[in-house]
């Protein structure tokens, strides 16, 4: 874990990219140090024998239930859109997703 894979500055920047977080270059090193500290503590898990133990994703013990598929009231569109940072009519406005020359 952390000993065998010390987190490098480059890896930290990569994780920020995966997380879609614009972390300024001058803050990457501080972030790396803090993450290494926490991962070092988390390494305690290595000492626990988990051979044959099934992972537990939730404490909820009941099986998923299916609901009746009955139409009910929906959220008001105006209510929902008042939180949107940019709208065009009844739609959310976003930057161009495809480049001009992407074709298709």
């Amino acid at each position: 874990m952390s000993e065998t894979h010390p987190l490098t500055t480059q890896e930290t920047a990569h994780v920020a990219k995966l997380a879609r977080l614009a972390v300024p270059a001058d803050r990457i090193e501080a972030m790396r140090t803090q993450l290494v500290g926490v991962l070092g503590h988390v390494a305690k898990l290595k000492a626990i024998d988990v051979e044959g133990v099934q992972p537990m994703t939730t404490p909820f013990t009941q099986v998923n239930r299916l609901d009746e598929d009955e139409p009910g009231p929906c959220l008001d569109i105006a209510d929902v859109l008042r939180n949107a940072p940019a709208v065009e009519g009844r739609y959310l406005a976003v930057p161009k997703v495809l480049a001009e020359d992407a074709g298709g």
Binding site: H5, L21, G37, L45, P55, T58, R65, N83, V94
Partner: protein, 488 residues
């Protein structure tokens, strides 16, 4: 007549001795006066609260049943969705967010006659143990404003402890109700996972999160829990089990209560005064016929490690929804900005440092090559922790120990994130196992001339919420000296 106690107030309103409008007006005045000092509220919903109070008074005048919480003002942590006011999670990301719906717990409280009176300050997205990671300034501890109230439900804990309102709602992912309750000197109850619907609670760790009350008495905690609990079709993880009425049985002490006290809980690492108060409380319970049962929870110590893999992993997935597109902060457009740039810039600007750290941590432990070593292993240890509790509860009704190893610490005094994470050592395993837990005030300790409250933490088996509340009421009864309120 004490207008803060929710049950007394409810009785007074229902029997027409007090008008809900008068009680709510007095609460709003207290909140406004105290907030300058405590910064417990983001928003005091004056107009809406008075409108709700009038509706209660009108119902009574018309001979209709105003509900079991008639006229009781409730402060709501700002990560629980309310149609009135904003729901900011103490984050720039949601600075202007207005929920188009009420959370299920809010809907139920309103239906019970309760009055939503304000939104409380908290650690951003409920990540923190001091209520200092706030976009609009930290919450102060009502016993000593140079100290933190604990977190993340610090605003709700301060509001309840200071007697601004009888009931405040919090959320608890790793101790965020119980630790601030202990540090502020109020009752803080985290129900069993699945007891209270999470619909409308801004998700942090979906397999850990639970909504619960912070109050001045166990009785008010039971009253509020009873109004909120039960299956909800909008939360598939709400339990389809009948909810035992916690109010009816509350005053009945549990004969021969068996209290498990793990050696790991009365640790030398705790403040000695905390340990002394916990021991004194256990002695008083013994004198009432309770028996102390030795139980072993050797994995207590790895709870933090397990939690700080699982919770950030779930947080990194849950907070992916904040991308600047549908709602929340959007970074300004600039030439050449791609959609990915827009996401990253919006998130980099909208999230504070602690939230960014947790997202990074969660992204790392879920990333290819590390998933099995961290997340996969933590989920296996989680099952072992749960099994350890199951074995312990075969021999006892409740497990007792301190809610926090220390009293409230100095604001700004904890700069290393890991040190802050370690604050939750006695509370995280409750969430990991999904069992209920409660912190009950048991007295005060002295530190640097300040008198600081200490809470006893009780845990019970899953779905034994009513038993837990009864045991907590027994503790409360034995500590009249803890029922002192800070002068605000």
């Amino acid at each position: 007549m004490n207008f803060v106690d929710a049950t007394d107030l409810r009785d007074a309103v229902r029997s027409r001795k007090v008008k809900a409008s008068d009680a709510v007006a007095a609460t709003l005045a207290r909140a406004k006066a105290a907030n300058a000092k405590l910064n417990a509220f983001h928003e005091i919903l004056e107009e809406d609260a008075m409108r709700q109070a009038k509706a209660v008074d009108d119902a009574i005048a018309a001979g209709r049943d105003p509900g079991p919480m008639a006229g009781v003002p409730v402060a709501v942590k700002d990560n629980i969705a309310t149609r009135e006011g904003r729901t900011t999670c103490s984050s720039r990301m949601l600075e202007h967010y207005r929920s188009p719906f009420d959370a299920t717990c809010i809907e139920r409280l309103r239906a019970a006659g309760a009055v939503v009176m304000g939104k409380t300050n908290m650690d951003e997205f409920a990540m923190g143990s001091s209520s200092e990671h706030c976009a609009w300034g930290p919450v102060k501890n009502p016993w000593d404003i140079t100290r933190v109230p604990g977190g993340s439900s610090g605003g709700s804990a301060a509001a309840a402890a200071a007697g601004i309102c009888g009931v405040a709602l919090g959320s608890d992912t790793g101790g965020s109700i119980r630790q601030p309750a202990s540090l502020c000197g109020c009752v803080g109850f985290k129900p069993t996972y699945g007891r209270v619907s999470r619909y409308g609670l801004v998700a942090f760790g979906s397999s850990l999160d639970q909504i619960g009350p912070l109050t001045q008495s166990v009785r008010d905690a039971a009253l509020t829990y009873a109004a909120m609990a039960g299956v909800d079709r909008r939360d598939s993880t709400s339990a389809q089990l009948p909810v035992e009425d916690p109010v009816a049985s509350l005053e009945q002490p549990i004969a021969g209560l068996r209290i498990g006290v793990p050696a790991q809980y009365i640790s030398d690492a705790n403040d000695p005064q905390v340990n002394a108060l916990v021991r004194e409380s256990l002695e008083r319970l013994k004198a009432q016929g309770a028996s102390i049962v030795p139980v072993e929870l050797p994995l207590t110590d790895v709870g933090i490690s397990t939690y700080y893999v699982i919770a950030p992993a779930e947080a990194s997935a849950n907070l992916a929804r904040f991308d600047g597109i549908r709602y929340g902060h959007r970074a300004p457009a600039r030439p050449g900005q791609s959609l990915d740039d827009l996401y990253a810039e919006s998130r980099g600007q909208g999230f504070g440092p602690e939230v960014q750290r947790r997202i990074m941590l969660g992204t790392y432990v879920l990333s290819a090559g590390y998933y099995d070593a961290y997340y996969g292993r933590a989920l296996k240890v989680r099952r072992l922790i749960k099994a350890e509790f199951d074995r312990a509860f075969a021999n006892c009704d409740v497990i007792a120990g301190p809610a926090s190893a220390t009293p409230a610490f100095r604001a700004g005094g904890m700069t290393d994130p890991l040190q802050m994470y370690l604050c939750d050592v006695y509370t995280v395993n409750t969430n990991i196992a999904g069992i209920p837990g409660i912190s009950v005030p048991i007295g005060f300790m002295k530190q640097d001339g300040a008198s600081l409250p200490v809470g006893l933490h009780l845990q019970a088996a899953a779905m034994a919420d009513a038993t837990l509340l009864r045991a907590a009421r027994m503790v409360e009864r034995l500590h009249p000296e803890a029922a002192v309120r800070p002068a605000i």
